[in-house]
């Protein structure tokens, strides 16, 4: 099981790297969907006893459904509605983002091993990868201009927290997990609507231009 969990975690790292280097929104959303599927399987592999129970299976199914299917669908629809294909001119370029990603991975590896949980983790990769995923999500939110990419970043961030939760999954009541999922669901839903409306009003979804909304400044500037 540890072997499978490790492979899943490595895939998670690779998907994060793809997110850092990707410019097409379609690619980003697809990658987040893949992350969702990986995360759905992770608790099954990570269960220390090896035995499966219904609670775990239900959680895996719910995770896969929401993270792997519903949320990406919503985002894809938003992309279609607002007609934005790619992230043009991110604040930090793609090559630099990749390098930052490598540094973040080294940092999270270091922190992850220092943090070594009291109980033996399922895989030594689990905590580092969780921290890395959180950092990548935050980095995406910070350095991308389009609101939709930022939503993707938010999802990645949440995936990281979820991964972190997996290390304790067999202890944690199912309820907490599900409520987290619900939170994200509602969050993305609201953001999707807002993004759509912003786009309809202002013809663009550049988040850094939202500061123009202050105090009746001109919104004449179109992209």
């Amino acid at each position: 099981m540890t072997m499978l969990a490790s492979i899943a975690l490595v895939l998670l790292v690779l998907s994060n790297i793809r997110l850092l280097g990707g410019s097409r929104l379609g690619t980003l959303i697809q990658t987040v969907a893949i992350q969702g599927v990986i995360l759905a399987f992770l608790p099954l592999f990570a269960h220390p006893g090896g035995g499966l129970n219904y609670e775990l299976l239900a959680m895996a199914a719910a995770t896969g459904l929401i993270k792997g299917l519903v949320l990406p669908r919503m985002l894809t629809r938003a992309v279609r509605d607002v007609q934005v294909r790619r992230e043009v001119e991110p604040i930090v370029g793609y090559s630099t983002s990749l390098l930052v990603g490598l540094a973040a991975l080294a940092v999270s590896a270091y922190l992850g091993w220092k943090l070594s949980p009291a109980e033996p983790a399922v895989s030594p990769l689990l905590v580092p990868v969780a921290i890395f995923t959180v950092l990548v999500g935050l980095f995406l939110i910070m350095t991308r201009r389009k609101a939709l990419t930022q939503v993707v970043g938010y999802l990645v961030f949440e995936n990281g927290i979820y991964t972190f939760g997996v290390s304790l999954a067999y202890r944690q009541p199912l309820l907490v997990e599900l409520s987290v999922l619900l939170d994200v669901f509602v969050g993305v839903f609201v953001m999707g609507i807002i993004v759509f409306h912003i786009q309809r009003e202002f013809d663009h979804i550049d988040a850094d231009k939202l500061s123009l909304l202050r105090d009746g400044e001109s919104q004449e500037e179109h992209q």
Partner: protein
């Protein structure tokens, strides 16, 4: 040891003699003769010490409180002393030729006085066994080099560079005075030999030393004086400053770290991080430059980064009990000090010959000089290949030592050491690739192709006085590259001492390195043999075939001109634009537009980011505060007397009241 003292005496006497001779052309001969004689005298005991003789010292009492004229040679001092004396003597010979026919009316006597004073003070710095003597020599070094930098003081930018250098030096010295005051007052003595116990807050003192010595060595972000001062100085002075003077910072850091007790792991990690950032930023800024001397100055920042990286791995090795990593890290660092002294002074001399022959420092306007300066070009080529760490030359050997040191530190047991090693290897590889790109640019654009702009007069090859020192340095590059094991043997004693390794551990570490090094040397010889063989094959083939000469293939374009060649800026553009966020290159002008484009100009300029966004705001703020204080100073003498009286009274009340 008397030989070292007599070397000092020869340096000072010849310096004063040339000062007295002033304008006469004999001044240079006396000074250069003194520098060469001093080198001959000083290198003998230093080499004996490196070969295994016991450390020696000489002490003369001195009236300064806490001070004593106490100098000595141990393996570490000896290496630096040899490098300082050899490079200074060679650069002096070069300088005599370089300044000949120097147009400025200024007398060269004082210049040579300061030159020999600089050499003498550097020699005292690396042999001083007393903190007060060290600081005095350190200050003499800063002052004499200041006067050397401002040789062409008729130019405003040279004066500005000189001031920046002076301010930077003194701010760094302030840290050192604080450091030595703390260490000295705690031990109750200013003799280095008495500083044996571990001081409290050793980590903080280590950081103070890093700032103080690092500013002299030129680590990022304390390097801002370096790209200003080195291009401003005459080329032989740049060779000494970049080749050996900044290394006294490295010496100081190595020496003082030994006074701080057992190093902690984080010191090493800090040095690794500082080394990586200096190395990468240095080479990137170098890539973006088109002034050849400024480019070389930024490469000093890069190479100091590599040295600091090696030191950092060494400290990590000590703290983790990995003696192989410790010995190899320090060996690589020290050997790189030697290597960088050799090839960087060689390169500055080559650049000096180019500047002297053409009067141009902008690589974008040069080209095709290989035909008129064949010897300078050949030796600049050797220097360029050496600094790019290409085998079979010396630059590769020291980087290889750091590389295999890092590999030896790579074990699954110590994840954090492995991460540091891994970062070191990856960044050394990146630095190597970028340095090769940069020197392909520096050599290719200066010496190859066709001239990019018309020259005022035909460039003439430098005379033998300038070529001979360069030839010696080129041979040294090749010698260390071909015989790396012997070079390692010279530095290994100092490295083992720094690594706090027991003789058994040190022998173990050397064994780790000796097989790879002898293999490297075998490959280097094989490479030469293969080159000779292939060249012979080519000659044999071509002896029976037609060899024609024509135009460069112009891809069908009918009228290619020399101005259509790639320039250094266009050559570096892919890399500079890739790293634009770090470099913040300014561009002026734009692309031609329209169907019948008219005239357009385009130029790029990469000023130092740290100077503009880090130091300038601070100094502007200081200047603002200083302006307030200015109201106290209006030139009326009686008010000054009042200040003095007030100060006296306040002091008396504070002490007695």
């Amino acid at each position: 040891m008397t030989l070292v003292a007599s070397a000092l005496a020869v340096l000072l006497l010849s310096g004063f003699a040339s000062l007295a001779l002033g304008r006469k052309s004999f001044a240079a001969v006396v000074a250069v003769g003194g520098a060469v004689a001093a080198a001959a005298l000083g290198i003998i005991p230093a080499t004996m010490c490196l070969a295994g003789a016991a450390p020696v010292s000489i002490a003369v009492p001195w009236s300064v409180p806490g001070g004593a004229f106490h100098i000595g040679l141990d393996p570490l001092s000896s290496i630096f002393a040899v490098v300082i004396l050899a490079v200074s003597a060679l650069s002096a010979m070069y300088g005599a030729g370089y300044l000949q026919g120097h147009s400025s009316a200024a007398s060269t006597g004082p210049h040579w006085f300061f030159y020999n004073a600089l050499t003498a003070s550097m020699l005292v710095v690396v042999t001083a066994q007393n903190a007060v003597l060290f600081l005095v020599a350190w200050e003499c070094m800063a002052l004499s080099s200041f006067f050397l930098v401002t040789f062409h003081n008729e130019h405003a930018d040279v004066r500005k560079a000189g001031w920046i250098y002076l301010v930077a030096s003194h701010m760094a010295t302030a840290f050192l005075i604080f450091l030595f005051a703390v260490l000295g007052s705690r031990a109750g003595s200013f003799e280095f030999a008495d500083w044996t116990s571990t001081p409290p807050a050793a980590g903080a003192l280590f950081l103070v030393a890093l700032i103080g010595f690092g500013a002299k060595a030129g680590i990022v972000p304390l390097h801002v004086w370096l790209p200003q001062a080195h291009p401003a100085a005459p080329s032989h002075v740049s060779a000494v400053m970049s080749g050996v003077m900044i290394k006294t910072g490295i010496y100081g850091l190595l020496r003082v770290t030994g006074f701080l007790g057992a190093p902690e792991a984080w010191w090493g990690y800090v040095l690794v991080a500082v080394g990586i950032s200096s190395g990468i930023l240095g080479v990137l800024f170098a890539l973006a430059q088109h002034d050849i001397k400024r480019l070389l100055a930024y490469h000093s920042v890069e190479n100091i980064g590599i040295i600091i990286l090696g030191m950092g791995l060494g400290l990590v090795g000590i703290s983790k009990g990995n003696s192989v990593l410790a010995v190899l890290g320090f060996s690589g660092a020290i050997l790189h000090v030697v290597n960088h002294a050799i090839f960087k002074s060689l390169l500055f001399m080559g650049a000096g010959s180019v500047v002297r022959a053409t009067g141009i420092r902008d690589i974008d306007s040069l080209g095709g000089l290989l035909k008129s300066l064949p010897w300078t070009a050949a030796m600049f080529f050797i220097g360029a290949a050496a600094i790019s760490a290409l085998p079979p030359l010396n630059g590769f050997v020291s980087e290889f030592l750091i590389f295999i040191g890092a590999l030896s530190g790579f074990s699954l047991a110590h994840a954090s050491v492995s991460l540091a090693s891994c970062a070191a290897v990856a960044s050394l590889a990146l630095i190597g690739g970028l340095a090769a790109a940069c020197f392909a640019k520096a050599f290719g654009m200066t010496f190859l192709g066709e001239p990019r702009s018309p020259l005022a007069h035909d460039p003439r090859e430098a005379g033998p006085a300038m070529l001979a020192p360069m030839a010696v340095l080129s041979l040294a590059c090749a010698a260390i590259g071909l015989l790396p094991a012997q070079a390692m043997a010279l530095v290994s004693r100092a490295a083992a001492h720094l690594a706090l390794a027991s003789p058994v551990d040190a022998a173990d570490a050397l064994k780790w390195a000796s097989f790879p090094l002898s293999a490297v040397s075998a490959v280097a010889f094989a490479l030469f043999a293969l080159v000779a063989l292939l060249a012979a094959v080519r000659l044999v083939i071509l002896s029976k075939r037609p060899v024609d000469h024509g135009l460069t293939w112009d891809c069908g374009y009918a009228k290619p001109t020399a101005r259509m060649q790639y320039t250094s800026s266009s050559f570096a553009q892919p890399l500079t634009s890739l790293f634009r966020p770090l470099l913040q290159t300014h561009t002026k002008g734009g692309e031609p537009t329209g169907v019948f484009p008219g005239h357009t100009t385009f130029s790029t300029d990469t000023p130092d980011v740290f100077e503009n966004s880090m130091f300038k705001p601070v100094f502007l703020a200081v200047a603002k505060v200083a302006a307030l204080v200015r109201s106290f100073q209006h030139g009326r003498i009686h008010v000054y007397i009042l200040y003095i009286v007030l100060a006296l009274l306040v002091l008396l009340f504070w002490k007695l009241g």
